[in-house]
């Protein structure tokens, strides 16, 4: 059984989401079970049209391609439920219907036993 990796995005700047996406996709390439979590502070990156605003940052991979890889291959991509009210977000604005909106406890139960946890 492969090991678990947790990647948390906790900020609304490019330097929060880009390394998070890069680490998650690298983890997938190394056969980790990846669990990705959007905190309220990083909520906007789970919304339609936000990653697109980044374009392809100089010298970095394209964030949309990274996200599409992650949403397709990660064990779970979770959006913290608290982010809905905190940021005034409508669930239908999520960029992908496979993003799971839930509270932190079930996410932590899924992520239990993770050997790597990265917060950006």
């Amino acid at each position: 059984m492969s090991e678990k990796m947790v990647v948390v995005c906790n900020g609304d700047e490019a330097k929060n989401i880009m390394p998070a996406l890069i680490f998650a996709s690298s983890g997938l390439a190394l056969d980790y079970e990846v669990y990705f979590f959007f905190c309220p502070a990083g909520a906007k990156w789970a919304l339609k049209g936000e990653l697109e605003k980044l374009g392809t940052p100089k010298g970095l991979p394209n964030p949309i391609e990274l996200f599409d890889t992650i949403i397709g291959l990660a064990n779970k991509v979770t959006f913290c439920e608290l982010g809905l009210e905190n940021k005034g977000i409508d669930p239908k604005d999520m960029r992908d219907e496979r993003i799971v909106i839930e509270k932190l406890p079930p996410f932590l139960m899924d992520a239990e036993g993770a050997t790597m946890t990265f917060t950006f």
């Binding site: 390394p19 680490f23 010298g59 050997t115 950006f120």
Partner: protein
């Protein structure tokens, strides 16, 4: 008796790994990261510091010196030296070079440059990961 010390038995010393990620170049983030890494190295951890593009410029020669003389905080150069003397590794994400327009020859001498996926292999088995 089985619970007595057996001087012939071989014991393997297993060093535990500690990962310190740095993703921001503000004073609070950099100093917190380097203090934590130095503390880990001093307590026998094998320290791996990984600098993301957001903190890449910290590893350019002459940049860490700008974090000196912050009230109440230790000298970052001494901390950095103690980390490397104690076999800690200072690693820069390869993407930080083109993203920030940094040339490899401008980095501090001890810095290794590595892809994120290679770093993850190096970090395998880490007991603690701290992100700043």
């Amino acid at each position: 008796m089985s619970d007595e010390f057996d001087s012939n038995e071989e014991y393997e010393f297993v060093e535990s790994k500690m990962v310190v990620m740095v993703n921001h170049s503000d004073h609070d983030s950099v100093m917190a990261a380097i203090v934590m890494a130095a503390a880990g190295a001093a307590t026998g951890e094998q320290v791996l510091m990984f600098f993301q593009p957001g903190a890449a410029k910290v590893l350019v020669k002459g940049e860490l010196e700008k974090y000196q003389n912050i009230q109440g905080l230790p000298d970052p150069i001494k901390l950095y030296e103690s980390i490397t003397i104690l076999d800690g590794r200072i690693i820069l994400c390869e993407l930080g070079l083109p993203n920030k327009g940094i040339k490899e020859e401008d980095l501090r001498d001890e810095v290794e440059v590595m892809m994120a996926s290679s770093f993850l292999l190096e970090a395998e088995g880490a007991n603690a990961v701290y992100c700043y």
